[in-house]
């Protein structure tokens, strides 16, 4: 068990707690995409680079975009 994995997993836990307790939806989405990035790093460390690529692309890319779009759509402010 390398030190790097332990540090990264600590980061993961702290980030996920922030994601859950944060009052601001947009902030928690951005934190969530950071969480996805760190998760991808851990996966890369565990010997799964293929999945790390997928995770970065999906979690920090598309899913965050979908989240942001729907948050904008559900708040009444003008989008553009």
């Amino acid at each position: 068990m390398t030190v790097l994995i332990i540090l990264l997993s600590l980061c993961l836990i702290i980030l996920s707690i922030f994601v859950v307790v944060s009052r601001n939806l947009l902030a928690s989405i951005i934190l969530f995409s950071a969480y996805g990035l760190i998760m991808a790093l851990v996966w890369q460390q565990l010997g799964a680079p293929v999945l790390a690529l997928a995770e970065v692309v999906v979690e920090s890319g598309i899913i965050s975009v979908l989240f942001v779009v729907s948050v904008f759509r559900t708040s009444k402010d003008d989008v553009e």
Binding site: M1, I5, I6, S9, L12, I13, S16, I17, V19, V20, L25, S28, I29, F32, Y35, G36, M39, V42, W43, L46, G47, A48, P49, V50, L51, A54, E55, V58, E59, I62, I63, L66, F67, S70, V71, R73, T74, K76
Partner: protein, 109 residues
Amino acid sequence: MLKASFSNLIYVVSMILFLIGFYAVAMRPSLIKKIIGINIMETAIFLFLIGIGNKKGGASPLVVEGIEKYVNPFPQAMVLMALVVGVGTTALALILAVRLFECENGEKR
């Protein structure tokens, strides 16, 4: 039990993340927060599965001449497929949440 838990640190971390996600799903009133919680649970399980497939000193499962020892590719394949499924479920959840929000706030369709 403690010693075993330390050598299986990744499993323990994934279980903690799973519970944090579960807390978000069960307790946060906001629909978007619930969906984020679902995603956290999902990635936690993926971490768990990848941990199962790990092998000490194994290379990542891309076959190269001269390397004999690779990590187990099967959990990784499972995770890749479950990741795609996860995108689908998240998108559907967001669609329902958005439509529900619009209905509740009396906007025209």
